[in-house]
Amino acid sequence: MKSSKRQIMNSAFAISCKAVTWMSLVILAVLLFHIFKQGYEFLSFDFLQNLPSRKAHKAGIKTALVGTLWVVSLTACFAIPFGVATAIYLQEYANKKSLFIRFIKINIANLAGMPSIIYGLLGLTLFVRYFGFDRSILAGSLTLALLVLPVIIITSIEAIKAVPGSIRYAAFAMGARRYQVVLGQVLPAALPGIMTGIILSISRVIGETAPLLIVGAMSYVAFLPENAMDMFTVLPVQIYNWAGRPSEDFHSLAAAGIIVLLGVLFSMNFIAVIIRKKFQRYKSE
């Protein structure tokens, strides 16, 4: 008798594990279906090319797309060199047992977990007010660069860690200095892994809303930004603006915006997967 009760528990548990796991797939499917159903009627070439408008049927996301492009490119320029340099030092030069380096690493992990809205307050105070960049693309990009920096550092460290020691030893044996080993051997070998990390962090930048709202991305910008000091809006901020209105038409516009946003994000993830599969020779663990 006792053993049959054990068996029932065992199979019940196995079934519930499986059911709950596939439920997460269902949630994703429901989310995508709901958004597609609500947004597809507004999806058109005009939607991509129109300026924002107070009339739902004339509104488009051109300024938001251009703004997003500006912000993403500038953010990448600031965050990638900073992040990769830090990762190289931590993985190739630092004495990993030293207390200071462990402190630095915990600090980076903390920065990765800091709420994005705190980054917004930091950017608002530091870049918008103290540095006088005003509510510009530059201020927004610097803020987002700080936000994704820890992600880039952590993924780059993983990529560099995965490069086998034998490559380094061979280069050292040829008499190379450490910088020659790093720049000539380790970095090229780790490049696909680093690229994957960069693409994933850029997709995080594209979807980030809260810090840009704080730093002052406008929801209504009727002209295209022409330089880094211009006012701007980005796709998620535009979506937030539409989603917050009571009218059903604007909700559908928001859904159409989300379809575009998710389309961009999914294709970036796809590229990251391809790079990982095709070019990555070394993987950690």
Partner: protein, 300 residues
């Protein structure tokens, strides 16, 4: 001679390279330091006007209305209501998903589930907010007709969905760090899979599960757009999840979107709430990350 000069030259370059990299490394500390400095500096005027205990223990939050009142508890309780609901959903689900991934699933199934979890984790929070507002709330209305348009329950559910992948993958890592020998010892004594999981795997990875919960709670506290869209903007001390509430993060968004002039006390409240938010998440992140950075159990 020439060889020696070259050697000295490369040595110098190496040193310069190393030092310039080090500048970047130290700058990561500067980021944390400037966050703390800015929050303290900008909120100092506020705390000169409003005593700390009035801020921390006051039960009415109305900085934008007359008469003004600066008790932060309604925002904290709103945040905790969301966090509690989200964990209530995401912890059991996340544990079951992690168990399935590490103990039951074949490599092929794992290769399907893992990317799906990554996609769920990569969807921007604004999308979840929209989903909560236009799908979850109408669904909830079928069950609870009296529910408000903006309500804590829908925010909690959607935040739960957001932190589910995080809990699942951290617990999965924790389970996989348990040496095989422990499991096989238990199987050898006649235990079945459920008993191995509930009596060996979960207890031995308790610290990592704990760290996962702490990090997930911290993430839920800091979550902004989903709760701003779904849970409303009414600082409300309630435990009724069907009512509209306001979280700390949603308040900061509300103020920065309004036309509150910089320098006034209404504006400074942002930083006061910000420093509380920072303190809460900072302590939890340190705790979680210190536990996770401990070395894994070695195979015996």
């Amino acid at each position: 001679m020439a060889k020696k000069r070259l050697s000295q030259k490369t040595k110098r370059i190496d040193l310069i390279f190393k030092l310039s990299l080090f500048v970047f490394v130290v700058s990561t500390l500067v980021i944390t330091a400037s966050v703390i400095a800015i929050l303290l500096h900008e909120s100092s005027d506020f705390f000169n006007t409003v005593p700390l205990q009035d801020f921390l223990f006051g039960t009415r939050w109305a900085p934008l209305l007359e008469p003004q009142s600066f008790g932060v508890l309604p925002l904290v309780s709103g945040t905790l209501l969301i966090v509690f609901g989200a964990i209530l959903f995401a912890l059991p689900t996340g544990l079951l998903v992690a168990t399935y991934l590490s103990e039951y699933a074949s490599d092929r199934t794992r290769n399907i589930i893992k990317p799906i979890l990554e996609i769920l984790a990569g969807i921007p929070t604004i999308v979840y907010g929209f989903f909560a507002l236009t799908f979850i709330t109408p669904m909830l209305r079928l069950v609870f007709p009296e529910i408000q348009i903006f309500n804590a329950l829908s925010g909690a559910i959607v935040v739960g969905i957001m932190i589910l992948p995080m809990i699942a993958s951290l617990c999965d890592d924790g389970f996989r760090a348990i040496p095989r020998s422990l499991r096989e010892g238990a199987y050898g004594l006649g235990a079945n899979t459920f008993e191995v999981i509930s009596q060996i795997v979960i207890p031995s990875s308790a610290s990592r599960i704990g760290a996962a919960i702490v990090l997930a709670v911290s993430r839920a506290i800091g979550e902004t757009m989903a709760v701003t869209l779904a849970a409303g903007a009414t600082p409300n001390m309630t435990i009724n999840p069907l009512e509209s509430i306001q979280t700390m993060t949603a308040y900061i968004v509300q103020v920065s979107l309004g036309d509150t002039p910089a320098g006034g006390i209404e504006y400074q409240t942002c930083y006061a709430v910000g420093i509380l938010l920072f303190a809460m998440t900072f302590m939890m992140n340190i705790l979680g990350n210190v536990v996770l950075s401990r070395p894994k159990l070695e195979g015996m």
